[in-house]
């Protein structure tokens, strides 16, 4: 036990004191903050600079239409198309729109052409389309017997609200809290994925280094190979906790500063992916208060402790696998690449299952995926914010813990043979045999 502690201490201290570790720990959140700041700045900037659009209106319906917009400045051109189609940019326009005449009022679609030197974003195109169709719709309404007022009264908006009385504040499953839950799912799943790859491969490299350096035989003449492996896995685990803890604190600090200097802007979240879209959508629909209520309504008493268990379970399973693979590798990483496939494949499958699981967090795929111990460290945390049945969480934890014990034992058996094996190209068959080799 004392020896295990010594190993953990060494593995931890030698890493934490490295300059590269200190730099990575401090600079990563700063870099992340910087990217957020710059992208936020650019996004808000591109919002404020209007694009000027020249419109050649052959239909003659746009004169009365309300075309004012934050992003676009529509300008009905008096010049005919063949004069302006080459000259629009010289005249200071970014874009030229050509609205052909409408011959038949009963038509439900209409083609509007645009001319632009630069590629337009999907969002910009959609906005222009919406603007145009609104204008055409207004025109069609004015030409029909329906008046605008009647039409407005026909609008109907339904909000789905969960009426189940809960003991917590806020709604259990309104749109916002689902958004918050999804964001949290992504965050936890991604965090696991990151931890497995960053720190798992750290364990692997360290095992290889000891083997190549030939210190390993000196070491195992003092300690059991299993102690050495376990000490390494745990030492690097503490490194992971330290680094993640500092990252979270720094990121939180940066967010606070960031939040204080910039007003919340829905566009900020755009481009960070689906979760970002959700957040930005939420931002445009509601205010921070609702999000906070959504965060508050989550079952943190279940989520936090369970996540900690899955975090350590996942880390242990995968890093001991990485240790086993590292011990089987020679000095040639390229040659050992195929040995890493059995680790990569389940992680990648698990992370690609996150989205389907989110779509149906208590469906069969989610349930079975979150029981399988190589997937559960990623998939169960993803389910946690959606109130999975507690028995499923507990069962998954029991399976996970049993697998951790089994996998560590198995990895230890591979490791003890692998570290003393030199100059042989190792196959999976060979590794399988190692499991049953006597000590």
């Amino acid at each position: 036990m004392n020896k295990l502690w010594l190993i953990i201490k060494r593995e931890y201290l030698t890493r934490v004191r490295k300059k590269s570790f200190i730099l990575a720990t401090l600079l990563t959140p700063l870099g992340f903050g910087l990217i957020m700041f710059v992208s936020g700045y650019l996004a808000s900037n591109s919002m404020t600079t209007q694009k000027r659009i020249a419109v050649v209106d052959q239909s003659g319906i746009l004169d009365e239409a309300d075309l004012s917009n934050k992003q676009f400045d529509f300008d009905i051109s008096s010049l005919p198309l063949d004069q302006i189609d080459t000259a629009y940019s010289r005249l200071g326009y970014d874009l030229l729109l050509e609205v052909p005449p409408i011959s038949d009022l009963s038509t439900t679609s209409h083609k509007v052409n645009f001319y632009s030197k630069e590629k337009l974003s999907l969002v910009a195109l959609e906005q222009i389309e919406r603007k145009m169709s609104n204008a055409l719709k207004t025109y069609k309404i004015s030409k029909s017997d329906i008046n605008q007022e009647t039409l407005d009264q026909l609008e109907m908006s339904v909000t789905l609200d969960n009426a189940v009385k809960s003991d917590k504040d806020g709604d259990k499953s309104n749109k916002i809290s689902i958004g918050v839950a999804s964001a949290l799912s992504y965050l936890m799943g991604f965090l696991m994925y990151m931890v497995i790859f960053i720190y798992g491969s750290m364990v692997m490299r360290s095992v290889m280094e000891e083997k190549i350096n030939r210190i390993v035989e000196v070491m195992i003449s003092s300690v059991r190979p299993f102690q050495l492996m376990l000490g390494k896995v745990m030492g690097v685990g503490f490194v992971a906790i330290t680094q993640l803890f500092i990252w979270i604190i720094l990121l939180f600090g940066i967010m606070m500063i960031f939040g204080a200097t910039m007003s919340p802007d829905p566009a900020m979240g755009a481009g960070i992916g689906d979760a970002g879209e959700l957040i930005s959508e939420m931002g445009s629909q509601s205010d921070i208060k609702d999000i906070l209520a959504g965060i508050k309504s989550l079952n943190w008493l279940l989520i936090l402790p369970s996540f900690v268990v899955f975090f350590f379970g996942g880390y242990f399973i995968y890093s001991s696998l990485f240790a086993a693979v590292g011990s089987a590798m020679g000095d040639d990483i390229g040659e050992g690449q195929q040995l890493m496939m059995p680790i990569f494949i389940p992680v990648i499958i698990a992370i690609s299952l996150v989205l389907p699981v989110l779509n149906n967090p208590n469906g069969p795929l989610a349930v079975f995926g979150s029981m399988f111990p190589l997937f559960s460290p990623i998939l169960m945390p993803a389910r946690l914010p959606f109130d999975p049945p507690v028995w499923q969480v507990l069962l998954s934890i029991v399976i996970l813990i049993a697998s951790v014990i089994f996998m560590t034992w198995m990895a230890g058996r591979i490791y003890r043979v692998g570290i003393l094996m030199y100059g042989k190209k190792v196959t999976f068959k060979e590794i399988g045999r190692w499991l049953f080799v006597k000590n």
Binding site: K3, R10, V216, S222
Partner: protein, 301 residues
Amino acid sequence: MSILSLQNVVKNYHNHTAVDNVSFDVPKGSIFGLLGPNGAGKTSLIRIITTITMADSGKVLLDGKVINFNSPSQIGYMPEERGLYKKMKVGEQLLYLAQLKGMPNKEAKKKLHAWMDKFEILSWWDKKVEELSKGMQQKIQFIATVVHDPKLLILDEPFSGLDPINSNLIKDEIDQLNKNGTSIIFSTHRMEQVEEICENIILINNGKKVLEGNVSQIKINHKENLFHVAFDNSQLRVDSLAGFTILDSASDGLTVKLDHGMTSNHLLGSLIGKGAEIKSFNEILPSINDIFIKRVGKSEE
């Protein structure tokens, strides 16, 4: 009393037998040579003794007790393939290795200081291992092996890669440790070192014990009744001698093999009868190297 006793030790690997029913005893306080060509099973044997692996059958006793996982703290092992953590500082590393052998921090520090002072390398304490030359690293390695005052020291090819000066330094330290009561197993395939250092040896080949015993006794047992006689009368030439086979004849001496039933007295008598004025007379004993080649060559036939 023996510090180490192996009884019928067997170790099988996937497709070969690395140690095949080997028994031997290492007397307490002796320097013991474990000899054998590369791949003979020396390292497999040592790994069993150091509890890195376990024997499939047979018994290993260290100081009278069956070896267990606490035994390594009484053993100092310097493997043939040895290394250090390159990025770690010398002092930290030695302290770590000493603590893993069960030494308390303070005591380890004191002992390490004493050893490094002895080797005049105390100034390296805060240097990283990668900054040191290979020879320097070997010294660190040696200190790491002996710092916890092991009862039994196992050195696997300790002089490989050492220059003559460091080689002698380590040799002197080994002698010193042995005088202070440490038993030493010295594993090598370089025979000339064995004659210099070891009192007892075991020779293994293909996992089997080929030969065991006291070095001088083994030499006597393997003698081929060869004698060298030197004489003063330079004009005397002896080309043939009844009862003896002359292997080499020079103007000032002879190398002779006794035929069966003859003794050295017969040889001297017949030489004196020829009028030789004997200057010196000595028996030629085979070197361990010769015996090694003979025995290993034989067992491979």
